[in-house]
């Protein structure tokens, strides 16, 4: 039963996307909603991205410095490994898992509340394509803003490592800076940005699906919000595995 309902959910999600990904009725209204999405979903997420990235970046460097104590490995390895972790996985995947909680629950509860208070019915009655009007700007704005969040995350994550080196002195700041530049591949940044844009699409669209199909009352909106976070997290992890194998494997 649960398997069948999962298949039904996938079908409903695909049908919803078909309604969402169409040309907006009014481009000026789309742009208004797009800019709102940039601010509420993107700009409002910068602070959490910066705080988490800074501290995790610092902890990654600290952990690696403490655990790599072999005289066979040069100390700049700390910088190299920290950079690869931050660039390849932390700033895209782990950050998106966090954003699935913040942005995903926000989108699901906003659209879910509109559903149960008949605001979406009101849009439909007016002849507006409610799915397109409500969901498309959110997906577009979040996906478009994702590279900014990823770059912020990379920068503050590496800065966190820099500060910890400055405070503890092991490895030295010079060694760390040398490490984060050594064997650098620019393609990893593009890989990370592209991956996070894909995750951004998943986060916004899946959360919107759960909100749009919410039925009942406040309790169901809460459930929709929780479900969106859980499903988004699982999808991000699975897609990360597949994407990593396809892109780098």
């Amino acid at each position: 039963m649960s398997f069948i309902s999962s298949i039904e959910d996938v079908g409903e999600y695909a049908l919803l996307l078909k309604k969402v990904l169409t040309i907006p009725d009014r481009m000026s209204e789309f742009m208004k909603e797009f800019m709102k999405g940039v601010f509420f979903l993107g700009v409002n997420s910068i602070w959490i991205v910066v705080i988490i990235s800074f501290f995790i970046g610092a902890v990654i460097v600290l952990q690696i410095a403490l655990n790599i104590d072999s005289p066979m490995l040069p100390r700049f390895t700390v910088g190299v490994v920290s950079r690869e972790i931050i660039l390849l996985e932390f700033s895209s995947t782990i950050m998106c898992l966090i954003l699935a909680g913040k942005v995903g629950s926000n989108v699901a509860s906003e659209i879910g509340t509109m559903r149960i208070t008949e605001q979406i019915d009101a849009l439909d009655i007016m002849g507006v394509n409610s799915a397109n009007y409500l969901i498309f700007p959110k997906i577009a704005s979040f996906v478009a803003f994702m590279p900014v969040l990823v770059v912020f995350s990379m920068f503050t994550g590496l800065s966190g490592g820099y500060i910890i080196c400055l405070v503890l002195g092991t490895p030295s700041v010079e060694t760390y800076v040398y490490g984060i530049q050594a064997f650098f591949r620019e393609s990893f940044i593009w890989y990370s940005i592209f991956k996070s844009m894909l995750f951004g699409f998943i986060i916004a669209s899946v959360a919107a699906y759960f909100g749009y199909t919410a039925k009942g009352g406040a309790l169901e909106v809460g459930q929709a919000s929780t479900n969106s976070v859980v499903i988004n997290s699982v999808l991000i992890l699975v897609c990360d595995l597949v994407f990593t194998q396809l892109a780098l494997g």
């Binding site: 009014r26 208070t117 009655i125």
Partner: protein, 254 residues
Amino acid sequence: MIEVKNLRKEFDGEVVLDNINASFQNGMVNMIIGKSGSGKTVLLKCLVGLMAPTSGDIRYDGRNFVGLKSKEVRRLRRDIGMLFQGAALFDSRTVLENVMFPLDMFSRKNRRERKKRAEFCLERVNLLEAAHLYPSEISGGMKKRAAIARAIALNPKYLFCDEPNSGLDPKTSQLIDELIFDLTKDFSMTTIVVSHDMNSVINIGDKVIFINEGVKEWEGNKSEVMGTDNEKLNDFVFASDLFKKIKEAEEEKG
């Protein structure tokens, strides 16, 4: 005119509406009445396309609404205004922005003209002074009036009202009823009101349809409602002590 032919609606095999036939005339307030759970809101949702009927036809001026493509449905819906039970105003927009919304989406007029039209609609429902307020800052009656202003912004041919008086005091209810009646006459709309409030029926109902357990039980005008010999309708109408006493007083008068 809206015509309904052999309409049937089932949910998981359970029949909620069965063989509904009715016609709703232009320039008239058509009331659909019945007990809670009788199927009247489902009928309204079928009429506006929020629910697909299991079988039957719904014709808007001869054009069958059932089976239209989604683009055609959306085009037809621009002729429809609807007042929801909870008003369904957009929380993030002011009252004026709510009324301007359908105009922003579909009107070809410039912004100044759209604003003028929205203000005209708000003035018509006597709510211009609350134009700058958000829905959370106004009362239930004001929300209903704002929702009516939004519903008439695009000059609809058809107006649907779902329980317009629910949660309102008698005085405000009467105000909303009169507003619906006046707008129907002024703009010659086909208005369909779902209600279980007998005061509304007596105040504004040009035509009355009584739904009982998913079946159309009775049809007539408001003057016939009080004198009907339909047992189920009598049960419904005279469930209220006030109406019982009015009837007794009329019978005593002879």
